[in-house]
């Protein structure tokens, strides 16, 4: 078998996972609907005062995005695990880290990117200002890949366990707190007229850090789980 270059391997895995996701569109839609539904529950829960909602909006959207990404993480490796593809991937003479990175990327495109694109609509429901919505989208764009990548570690560790979904959230949510803090902090900074570049730089730093370490850690976790 010929050894693929890393980039073509990455593209191959991303394309495969995207095709698989498109064949099962319902899975993608459920995540999206869940996100919209959680966000819509908050005004019903806390009351329709627009001032309070405007203040809460970044936090609500971010927490909903966190929960939505947890929901879809369980599927990241489980289908491949069940039909034996994952075992072949581990045996393949290719870099497992790059393979995992490809799966993370396609997971983000399927579950993170749609949330970012849907954010302006939900932001308008909460009467957010246009610059605030812009910054919120930017932080989600930087932050949701981190959620996918950190979540992949949890997904790999809980592979094939009973009650894996709940356990996965228990493991991953505490690790995602910094992303949540900087993501909502940036929006609050822009609404109170402060400079957002510090928050965005920190989120960028978290993204780069995750990009470097999480594929390797996830690969190790997969090896532990598949032993």
């Amino acid at each position: 078998m010929k050894k693929l270059s890393l980039l073509s391997l990455l593209i191959l895995v991303v394309r495969r996972d995207l095709v698989l996701a498109m064949r099962r569109r319902a899975d993608v839609l459920t995540t999206l609907i869940f996100f919209v539904m959680v966000v819509s529950l908050f005004p019903l829960g806390v009351g329709p005062e627009i001032d309070m909602l405007r203040k809460m909006a970044p936090g609500v959207l971010w927490v909903a995005a966190l929960l939505a990404s947890m929901l879809s993480l369980g599927r990241l490796f489980s289908a491949d695990y069940l039909d034996g593809t994952l075992e072949q991937m581990l045996l393949a003479p290719q870099s497992l880290s790059v393979l995992v990175l490809g799966k993370m990327a396609s997971h983000w495109m399927v579950s993170g990117l749609p949330l970012v694109l849907l954010t302006p609509v939900l932001g308008l429901q909460f009467d957010m200002s246009v610059p605030a919505i812009g910054v919120l989208m930017l932080t989600l764009l930087l932050g949701t890949p981190v959620l996918s990548m950190v979540g992949a570690i949890g997904a790999a560790l809980t592979l094939g366990l009973r009650g894996g979904g709940v356990l996965l959230s228990l493991l991953v949510l505490p690790l995602c707190i910094p992303v949540l803090i900087f993501g909502t902090g940036a929006v609050q900074a822009v609404t109170s007229g402060l400079n957002v570049s510090a928050h965005l730089s920190l989120m960028g730093a978290l993204l780069v850090l995750a990009l470097v370490f999480t594929p390797w850690v996830t690969a190790q976790a997969l090896r532990i789980s598949m032993e």
Partner: protein, 245 residues
């Protein structure tokens, strides 16, 4: 005299060693607790601004310090177990986790008891409180991941990886929480550590040592039980006096 430390990395030799060490640590822990509580309640004067309420720091501060320290020790043992494939290190890591979680919980509980009279609220979203709470979550994640995997080898390795990822994340979480807090409301409480009375310092450090020794006693006792459980099919376990009787 040269001691071969690697000798005690095998459960066979560590089990009796731990059994011999436990009484020593237990007695010194009890003595230090007695001294620390005596100094704390009798010798140390009442605080100028906080009156008698401040005395809860003699358990609160040591338990917070120990809870953070234990996470690092646990992650260290977990890493050892993952890298060198030593069974005992992984057993130590899973023996430490519940004690760490307990100290994190005690720290939060006593903090709440102190917060009510001082801040007028059981819970304040202060940076220290929040990061302690997250630390408790990390412990609970470690324990529940270990508990939900049936195969002990996989459980050890998976939770070890989680502990290492967690320990890399702890500073990031701490600083982000700290910054989040200052963004919201500015610093609320600051300790002026230098102005502490000598007796208060003595009481606190004695209690810290007592808690540390207590953690060692409990971890060793628990690791002995784990060894008994994991090695129950081996010959040497069945030849132990306490197993035969």
């Amino acid at each position: 005299m040269a001691i071969n430390w690697f000798k005690y990395s095998a459960p066979t030799t560590f089990y009796p060693l731990a059994g011999k060490l436990i009484p020593w640590f237990a007695v010194s822990s009890a003595i230090l607790f007695a001294i620390g509580l005596y100094i704390g309640f009798v010798v140390a004067p009442a605080d100028a601004t906080q009156g008698e309420f401040y005395r809860i720091i003699f358990i609160h501060v040591p338990s917070s310090i120990i809870s953070m320290l234990l996470y690092m020790v646990m992650a260290g043992y977990a890493a050892l177990g993952l890298i060198f494939n030593t069974r005992l290190s992984s057993m130590m890591a899973s023996a430490i986790a519940p004690t760490g979680a307990l100290f994190a919980f005690i720290s939060l509980w006593t903090g709440a008891l102190w917060g009510k009279p001082m801040w007028g609220a059981w819970w304040v979203w202060d940076a220290r409180l929040t990061s302690e709470l997250i630390l408790l979550f990390l412990y609970l994640g470690f324990i529940s991941l270990h508990a939900s995997i049936d195969d002990p080898r996989r459980a050890d390795r998976a939770s070890a990886l989680l502990a290492i990822v967690g320990s890399v994340n702890v500073p990031i979480i701490y600083f982000s929480v700290k910054w989040w807090n200052t963004l919201h409301q500015g610093s609320t409480i600051k300790y002026s550590g230098t102005s502490m009375h000598v007796a208060m310092q003595q009481a606190m450090f004695t209690m810290l040592a007592a808690c540390w020794l207590y953690a060692i006693v409990i971890a060793l006792t628990r690791v002995r039980s784990i060894i008994l459980d994991r090695e129950k099919n081996t010959k040497w376990i069945n030849e132990l006096d306490e197993v035969r009787s």
